[in-house]
Symmetry: C2
Subunit: 343 residues, 2 copies
């Protein structure tokens, strides 16, 4: 494992995901030079505890204009991420954004254009794949042909609401993107990744508020169905994680292959031990429970390699754009803005 | 437990489901008087082994016209079930059909009319609910309010193909109904039952042949999405059960409630013991694995009570009609015959 001598800055620490984004890079030898955020987000205390040595700056330009900094991490309010990304790339930086990385087709076009123009990397840390070692193991199994061709992915993405500790922007879909664009983007990423689909289409997208009428703009339930030339997918999202679950959500991924199936229990195993990161494989030869916790999270290593080598190993650039395009489209369909687009 | 002094006959033993249909009734004291089937279906040997004492007749009318027989079980080729049911009811018999009980809207109308006219019971044994004790336990938990209101059901219905032992009609959708009308009806039943929806609609229905091109008319994959005034549902069906799974399919039901979740692992627990009938409950107070194998299958008892008492305890008559109506509609949408009906 190489030790990366790369310096990075952070613009916007509004979501807790910034903790692991930064931690993974620091663990690989990258140096957090400084960070900027507006005001005092709810994540501030946790951030200061984790990164006491890093310097807070009072203008993001100090980081963007620092020639020693190669990478900018972004975990600002979702609606601000695209324009920070664009500005960072125009300043010569590679970018790793928290998901969702962009909320409108217009900004997505501008991101595409900026990447083309600057040659910079725009990456989105889809943590439900990139920070789950069991998914790394599942990826290896699929690549090794353990279940044949993946013809369906089924993702269940429940999340604990923790309404009291959420900032106001979280309940405003204009700022947060809505449930499909936000947590749906994780699962669209997994559908595209595991099925290697070339022409994916949204076949169903809906949102509802089933139990939190006090937040009138908020959707606590959402679903997306996808279909491509070779596979289908379904995604169920919700903010109903029950109090007694030992973690924030019983996230699952089911892969149906022509020769076998894989189920990933990402964060817990209900009713049993509080074990996370287990892969359940069934194929022609065996059915077994395999611990995936040691499989690592190569996205971060590969991202830093890409920064140095100008390669595309962490995630193809076009994949990121396609994920966010579909996530925005799903959200717009569910919002009723694109009703007639369904195939 | 009362001992039922009820006599029944069987018309059509073409699907193995007839074994358990008859066994449950015999166990409750009902008497199998005689049975009729065309030719020598693949189920014949197993049937003779299980019910050696029952008398085969060479004309179904012998059973339909026997005044001592109160109930007719039907497990004929699916396309023939409705007309046998209608004839049986017109002969004064109550009917329990294997699923799918009917394949066309026209026959469904005639079934509704016949029930109205004759006052007979037309029931369909949705075995993925009625023959799974863990589902009985899940039902009790939901009735007791363990997870609040059920706002989503997610059913996974994989089935082993066993192509060599299937009769020809199985691969002919005109006779078998197609994957959505056939095995989809089980899951539509569970959606309606657990969500108590009054105005369900199909929001997505698709079928594909992903890995069995040698059977040109056959769909080995299907999916249905439903939405009602209070809940959504998604159903994934396939004929890809891997060889090494210790049973015919890793059937699952996930219930998302406003106050908790239930997962039912119906037939096995992959990677662990070959345990079936487990319920995984998570709510505000606990998360636990509960054995549901002792919860029984009250459908059969209730059905016989209904025969004697002219009550409607096993399953509301309107529920059966609605399940089959939606199953037929889903199949027609997926077949491309009802494209514009999607909401």
């Amino acid at each position: 494992m190489r030790d990366f001598n790369i310096k990075f800055g952070i613009v916007g620490i509004d979501h807790r995901h910034v903790y692991t984004q930064a931690e993974f890079l620091i663990e690989l030898g990258a140096e957090l030079v400084g960070w900027y955020t507006k005001g005092s987000p709810t994540t501030l205390e946790g951030f200061l505890k984790r990164f006491p040595q890093a310097k807070r700056v009072n203008d993001p330009r100090i980081l963007l204009e620092d020639p020693n900094i190669q990478v900018i991490l972004i975990s600002a309010i979702p609606s601000e991420r695209a324009k920070i990304s664009i500005s960072a790339m125009k300043h010569g930086k590679d970018v790793m954004s928290d998901k969702p990385g962009v909320l409108s087709f217009e900004e997505l076009d501008e991101l595409r254009h900026t990447v083309l123009q600057t040659g910079r990397i725009w990456s989105v840390d889809f943590s439900e794949r990139f920070e789950v070692p069991a998914i790394t193991l599942a990826s290896q199994l699929v690549l090794d042909g353990a279940i044949g061709d993946v013809i369906h992915t089924l993702g269940i993405g429940p999340h604990r609401l923790n309404a009291n500790s959420r900032p106001d922007w979280f309940f405003d879909p204009d700022k947060n993107g809505g449930i499909l664009a936000d947590i749906g983007s994780h699962q669209i990423d997994q559908f595209l990744y595991f099925t290697k689909s070339k022409s994916p289409k949204i076949t169903l997208a809906s949102i509802r508020n089933m139990g939190h009428q006090q937040f009138s703009m908020f959707s606590d339930f959402g679903e997306i169905a996808l279909s491509s030339e070779k596979a289908n997918g379904y995604i169920r999202l919700d903010w109903f994680t029950p109090k007694a679950l030992p973690t924030w959500g019983d996230g699952r991924l089911f892969l149906l292959g022509t020769e076998g199936t894989i189920e990933v229990r990402k964060y817990c195993d209900i009713g049993g031990e509080a074990d996370d990161n287990y892969v359940y494989l069934t194929n022609g030869a065996k059915h077994e429970k395999i611990y995936g916790g040691d499989a690592g999270c190569p996205y971060f290593y590969n991202f830093l390699v890409d920064v140095l080598e100008r390669s595309e190993t962490a995630m193809p650039q076009e994949h990121v754009f396609k994920v966010m395009e579909l996530a925005i489209e799903a959200q717009k369909i569910a919002d009723g803005e694109k009703e007639n687009e369904l195939i």
